[in-house]
Symmetry: C2
Subunit: 427 residues, 2 copies
């Protein structure tokens, strides 16, 4: 059944249109000056934009948000995050935490997230309940965990996940070898073969910290980027999170291969890891997209505040106020997100693309007067401004109220988890 | 009459207290385990903190928010901001715009703003109506404007402003020589004499852009900082906005004199001006506080998002996740704000200090679970979380609703101004 949304502004096909109806079912049918659909949503002082695509995150870590901050990375991981994970992580934790993450994603206009964590089936089930899209990274490590003894087990888990979500309209599976310091070149190669066989993208961390680069140099006599290049990962459909510590030569290598990057600026800054040279990467030919990383390091999943920070940060760093304009940032957070995750018919409102969109209303004291809606989104809007979200044409939030589940119940349950966790973790 | 607020957490006297009543009238009386006051406000899952102090802004510029973005500074000023100002600026504009700015400040927990603009009397009147505190910078320039022919006229205007707000509980006056590139050393010296006579602080821009530093070097054979040092401004009660481009020698000079700085990071970044070396300045002995600058360059007046950006930015820049911890950031945005503006009995919840405080509630999907309330404020809270604001013990917002004026009316009026402005400014 054809539905329609009317708004003052629609960012459609990469252009700002005014006072139109957006017609859609699962996919976008087109723009129109009028409509006689049965179901019409009218929104005043609002703009319809493609929903944001978060290209790197660990959704269930929302339950560790604020558990430990202002600490060196290894102290944070070894003394807080890993002990908490080893104590509490189970299917129930992951499902409940993903539901909380879904609340935040919906309110900040995110339609899809590229995740990497444990118990990914539960993440997928929670996202389906929420009505959101997810790419579930099936985890690959060299060493044994409770999920397997080694690469063969992890690949078998991936196969199970692929089978479980086969043909799903919302959930896809990716293969996620964790990082060059936890996965050997040999196992990266096995991942490429497996991913080829099952038609999966590969999602990995790369060049996040100085330590990583130094350790990989010591171990392999080459940098993480050169190692990945040698393994052939840049020639496979892949997305690389972080890419912080890079030489100009490495930037040239990844640029030439149009490598897809998930820029996780707030997480990199907050953990004191540094920042990715985004201007150089874009100039070299990379596709830069935006990830929030997990909320234990960010400390949120808010794509709106992330893109605002990204735009301002690189302007200031490069002493260039024209860099990463509002419109460029919107494309980076939507179209480039779809490109980075190799999603077809996504990331752009256009005829035949999926009807994945957010509506942003400007009737707040911090978003009036209105001169330029794109600028108002990137530089002034907050999650409060996001009133509606549609995924595959289905409403997930209407007039600020989540329609797919009871948000208050999720918040109460999350508090219960918090009480359980705080009681056993020493600060 | 003694009033009380009860909350789960109170950041009192630089310490986190739990489950107490905060007793106050105009000033803070103390903490208590129980109370039998007539008026008691109870807040669950909340923390009471000192209200934020915004140490550098141009409040009425909210009406130019988003009018022109992603442009070089001089293009932005000459082709958009100055033409718009020359066309629309009058008493009504400034009063109405300040009321809009007040909405945003209240919602984001700000109790006081250090302003610098035109028609400052109207700014003061609007802030009084809103119930907020303001320091009005009486503008000083070398050249004639419609406000005067030269320094004598501007000082006379300042004198009128001082007389008008004499003894006011909310409004103070400062002297605001604009910047070294618009005010001569001679006139800066006259400002010091005048400020001494009327017991005013001085508020000026300093070392904001590379161009400024180069032009001042050319004109005077010394940097802006050395020029100010020679003039004696660092020995006067003053606050300096920006302080972006500084040599190590200059940092030593200002550090030794404990110079008060308003760090306006988001504005400096967005305009491509660079960023202030805050870690070095603090280490050298400066008092760093936080300013949003005007909303035409930021593009908001939100202290919560500003301090989150500041903390993350300097951690990333210095590759040090322990830098500017959540608690340090809270002190920088409150206590240091009071120090930078030379406000007595302010910026800290303590017996005898003014009852200027905000209440932040954590019942949102992006602020649960709760482990560390200070971390949750700085890294995860948004203006939505700020439920209440008290200034001099008077409620300005209760349960998210502004009590001192009709916010919807202000938003509607602001839209009217926007329509008027957009109709005459070419984009």
């Amino acid at each position: 059944m054809t539905k329609a949304v009317y708004a003052d502004f629609i960012y459609f096909g990469g252009k700002l249109e005014k006072n139109k109806y957006l017609l859609f079912d699962e996919k976008i049918i087109g723009l129109s000056d009028n409509c006689n659909c049965e179901e019409v949503f009218k929104r005043e002082n609002s703009i319809i934009i493609p929903g944001f695509i978060n290209t790197h995150t660990h959704l269930p870590m929302v339950f560790f948000r604020g558990l430990a901050d202002d600490l060196p990375l290894m102290d944070w991981l070894k003394n807080y995050i890993w002990p908490a994970e080893s104590k509490f992580l189970d299917e129930e934790f992951v499902y409940d935490a993903t539901m909380l993450a879904a609340c935040e994603m919906i309110h900040s206009g995110t339609v899809a997230a590229n995740d990497m964590y444990f118990y990914s089936k539960q993440i997928g089930l929670a996202l389906k309940r929420a009505g959101l899209k997810g790419i579930l990274g099936a985890g690959i490590l060299d060493f044994p965990t409770k999920f397997g003894k080694g690469i063969e087990d992890y690949l078998n888990n991936a196969k199970d996940l692929v089978d479980f979500f086969m043909g799903d309209k919302l959930i896809k599976v990716a293969l996620s070898p964790h990082a060059p310091y936890t996965v050997s070149p040999e196992n990266y190669r096995k991942c490429i073969d497996f991913a080829d066989m099952y038609d999966l993208i590969i999602h990995t961390h790369l060049s996040e910290t100085k330590d990583e680069v130094e350790n990989i140099m010591k171990k392999y006599g080459k940098s993480p980027v050169k190692l990945m290049d040698e393994i052939g990962l840049f020639d496979h459909r892949s997305v690389f999170a972080h890419m912080v510590h890079l030489t100009d030569e490495e930037i040239e290598i990844v640029g030439k291969k149009n490598v897809k990057i998930s820029h996780c600026l707030e997480s990199n800054l907050k953990l004191g890891s540094g920042f990715s040279p985004v201007k150089k990467l874009i100039d070299a030919g990379c596709v830069v997209s935006i990830g929030t990383d997990g909320a234990a390091s960010n400390n949120d999943l808010d794509m709106l505040s992330e893109i605002s920070t990204v735009s301002k940060f690189h302007k200031g760093l490069n002493l260039d106020p024209t860099l990463l304009s509002a419109e460029e940032m919107l494309l980076i957070a939507t179209e480039n997100g779809a490109k980075a995750l190799w999603l077809e018919n996504s990331g752009r409102l256009d005829v035949g693309n999926y009807a994945d969109f957010a509506i942003i209303n400007f009737d707040k004291s911090f978003t009036v007067p209105l001169y330029n809606p794109l600028s108002q989104i990137i530089y002034s809007s907050r999650s409060e401004n996001v009133t509606d979200l549609f995924v595959n044409g289905n409403p997930v939030m209407l007039n600020n109220k989540i329609t797919t589940f009871d948000e208050d119940e999720i918040i109460e349950k999350s508090k219960w988890w918090g009480r359980k966790i705080i009681g056993t973790i020493s600060k």
